[in-house]
């Protein structure tokens, strides 16, 4: 008995070590660097908040950080709206449900690199949609957002929604299937229109799932990296830069580990801010 209990602890000890050292130890290390004078190599002289002050005075970071919110809000709202709408439609007893589910979910199996490249081609002015519509006989048609300083960030939203909407659809559809059939029968007897049942009764019941989806998407937004690398490379210039790319570039290419660390800590803070609604729901559940 005792020996076996020991085996369980032994088996878990590498995981404990990895958790403490690789996840938390490394995070603390990065946080520490962000409060030092480090530039292209670490310099462990304490320097207060100087890195953060410099970071937020850097135009490129301003763009990247603002982009995170633009991209984030649009992606969360877009993916949630599309996913929910698709789930509701598929739930209306459509034929070929398997086909629709398959088509809507396959993007999830593709990497963000592949997704970004494919969308780069779809939206490319020289070969994509613009070229296609011009060939149809509208020579003045213009759709070159991906090449526009102030529009490129929105093109990432197309690709992001394309990739994530299926996941939201799958989660929501599972939720819709779990709704008590008696509710549908009762509302039918009462003659309440379907859309009002969804809006007034079913969706409020799915609120915990909506919160889960919002949290999932928000965390994915903060972590976004590959998509922007493949699709726009952060460009034109650094117009579509995101914090994830900023940190990697400054860690390895631009070699400013102090700035990279400060930016990484801001990313970490943003993730925990995105998780807040989840903790709020959990705490309320426990409180009841």
């Amino acid at each position: 008995m005792r020996i076996s209990g020991l085996a369980a602890r032994l088996v878990l000890s590498p995981t404990v070590l990895v958790t403490v050292v690789c996840f938390y130890g490394c995070a603390v290390w990065t946080a520490y660097i962000s409060f030092t004078k480090s530039s292209f190599i670490p310099n462990y002289t304490f320097n207060g908040l100087a890195q953060y002050e410099r970071l937020f005075a850097t135009p490129r970071w301003g763009v990247a950080y603002t982009n995170m919110f633009i991209f984030g809000v649009l992606l969360v709202v877009g993916a949630l709206a599309v996913g929910l709408l698709l789930a509701i439609m598929i739930d209306r007893n459509v034929r070929g449900e398997g086909f629709f589910r398959t088509v809507m979910l396959y993007p999830l199996s593709m990497s963000f690199i592949v997704t970004g490249l494919a969308w780069q081609w779809v939206l490319s002015p020289s070969i994509g949609v613009q070229h296609f519509v011009r060939d149809l006989g509208f020579p003045n048609f213009t759709f070159d957002w991906i090449a526009q300083q102030d529009r490129a960030i929105y093109t990432l939203v197309f690709a992001g929604v394309w990739h994530q909407a299926g996941l939201i659809m799958a989660i929501m559809l599972a939720g819709l299937r779990g709704v008590d059939r008696d509710i549908w029968r009762a509302t039918k007897v009462e003659g309440i229109p379907t859309w009002r049942v969804y809006l007034g009764i079913v969706l409020p019941m799915l609120r915990p799932l909506v919160v889960t989806c919002v949290v999932l998407l928000s965390v994915a937004v903060v972590k976004s990296y590959d998509l922007v690398v493949a699709m726009t490379g952060g460009g034109p210039g650094f117009a579509s830069d995101l914090p994830g790319k900023f940190v990697v570039d400054f860690s390895f290419e631009r070699a400013n580990i102090g700035q990279a660390s400060a930016a990484a800590v801001v990313m970490l803070g943003s993730v925990f801010a995105a998780l807040a609604p989840y903790f709020y729901v959990e705490l309320r559940k426990r409180g009841q």
Partner: protein, 281 residues
Amino acid sequence: MKAARIGLYAFLLGAALFFSIPLLIVVMTSLKPMTEIRTGSIFALPLAPNFDAWVKAWMSACTGLACEGIRVGFWNSFRILVPSVALSVMAGALNGYALAQWKPPGANALLTALMLGAFIPYQVILYPMVKILSNIGLYNSLPGIIAVHIIFGLPVMTLIFRNFYAGLPDELLKAARVDGAGFWRIFFEIMLPLSINILIVAVILQVTGIWNDYLLGLIFAGRDNAPMTVQLNLIVNTSMGEQEHNVNMAATLLTALPPLLVYFASGRYFVRGITAGAVKG
């Protein structure tokens, strides 16, 4: 009512088109010669489909100065994938079993710490991890990138298996222990045979996740072991002169193919995997 039904199908078909267009474009363009791409549209069907661009992408597409094709990346990804998946799934199964069935002191604390750890962006951990791995001589090596994949796979893998084993009745373990079976025998003879479904889910999740990884492969694998995603991005985004769209798209398709095949072969398990990985049980 009739009109509403038609509208419903029209919307769903429109959505299906939106979802399939990027893949269709990549497939169609990869089957065309460059002359046809220059004059035509990427939305047009290929006039005389052929696999020339696929062959070129596989055998001789250029990554910077080397022109050995995307197959280099394919085999690198393969070498990274097999041990990473096998070891991380095994580690997850053992961890989940130890946590859920043996309930050692601090089990819940470890689980919470792991779950929170899973939310830390890679960017926060990258630089210190590079330092640690170069100190032990694993930076820019195959064992190094495999270790990194196992480490970053631990939270989700442990969680999936813990949730599964927590759902099994306690009597199973108690009865086996009365019969004198120990930790390892119970795991291999009782628990693993019960876990086939969840093992499949975990393997699919890790295969697609690790194959599709870009950032970790870019930072930790080193040039000689760069996975397919990294090589693909180099081929497409750093090429000089005229872009060979057909070759680029063939390379893209070849990179997307393994996870796509996994998806089409295992739809239901795949969905279970991503929702389990996403919703955390």
